[in-house]
Symmetry: C2
DNA sequence: ACCTGAACACCGTTCAAGT
DNA sequence: ACCTGAACACCGTTCAAGT
């Protein structure tokens, strides 16, 4: 076949196929050969558009952050900073929950993904505008990311196992089996996220008040 | 050679070698063949002691949690619950920082790792003893884990890239290059962790006071 | 029981060859 | 420029064979 007169592939097509494959079958299902087959080409063809497989996954991860709402950080948006952080955190979590299989790639740091940087930029700008010192504004963006991605990783993925025999009450006296079951797991996740988010924002409010402005 | 009269391998020897290899060269360096070579045996030998490679890595990860101090959760330890959470979080973070390469395995949930469960059990017990309702005690254990592992993943690993040209000020108006440099990265990490931990504990204290007891 | 080599079904990536 | 097949240097895991 060799080179067709109209390209068979494009970065966008590759990313879309990779994203669908990650969603449907998980990160492990993404091999260059498999992905290429999904696109109707042979494996090495991908290397005309990306330097490595990892670069493809980075773009897939970045596409997820692109769907996170940032409107609450607009200068002319009415929300105060605690409300903005709260609403943003929920949008962030929803975006990750929609694509849980890519979260491990996502969580390993902003790297040079453009959308990830856009987020850091928006949060930083809004916090400084709200009166936070720049050093604290940077930290707030980072710690929120820590909490949200940590929550996504620890919960969407496997949590406790569904096998009651794995948790011997003699060994773990306080771990009643009840809250280890899969159905409860989702409630625990939701509750822990809400409780943690509220605590972070309440705690930051305490620090903010102490700024004395 | 076939079977020696004294076993060449043991689960402990395999885990120790795997741990050292992860620390020295990263998760990607751990292949069954490579690990076996390090132990002076052939690849398939490992399968006499572990069912899968993943099971080996789970034990390596569990060994890390085993080094986390839990004494602050002892019933007769003097520390109040906010201090206990604070001290525990620092011990937790220190354990992960000592073995940053295993964190991705660690972060994907407690699974059925015994030490991870021992931790959940200790935190839960101490929080209930301090007066937290059981549902909240469960959430506190989970949200702390979210924050600490999220912080370990997002920071020890690659963060921002060290190439100044990657961050165009026209695109990211608020991202001064200064705080993107590698030297500053560590300060940002430390600061974000401290600020977030303090906020979480302060925020939980607000909720605790509202329990009215 | 515990190790071996051979084998199966894969990997990511490079590269010369084709148009 | 963009695709191909062949090739390189690997993978995790299974299994019959050996003691």
């Amino acid at each position: 076949m060799a080179r067709p007169r109209k390209p068979l592939l494009s970065r966008d097509r590759i990313v879309a196929a990779a994203s669908a494959l990650v969603d449907a079958e998980g990160l492990d299902a993404v091999s260059t050969r498999r992905l290429a087959a999904e696109l109707g080409v042979s494996g090495p063809s991908l290397y005309n558009h990306f330097r490595t497989k990892d670069e493809i996954l980075e773009v897939v991860a970045d596409a997820v952050s692109d769907r996170i709402d940032l409107s609450m950080f607009d200068p002319d948006d009415g929300r105060d900073w605690p409300t903005a952080l709260h609403d943003w955190a929920h949008s962030y979590r929803a975006a990750l929950r929609a694509h849980p299989n890519i979260v491990p790639v996502f969580a390993r740091g902003p790297g040079r993904r453009p959308a990830g940087l856009r987020i850091a930029d928006a949060v930083f700008g809004a916090m400084v505008r709200a009166g936070w010192p720049p050093a604290q504004a940077t930290r707030i963006g980072a710690l929120m990311r820590y909490f949200i991605t940590g929550s996504a990783l620890g919960s969407f993925a496997r949590g406790f196992v569904d096998d009651a025999t794995a948790y011997d009450p003699a060994v773990y006296p306080h771990l009643g089996r009840a809250h280890l079951l899969a159905e409860h797991r989702e409630q625990v996740d939701e509750g822990a996220f809400e409780t943690g988010l509220r605590a972070i924002i309440d705690g930051l409010s305490v620090q903010y008040a102490a700024l004395g402005r």
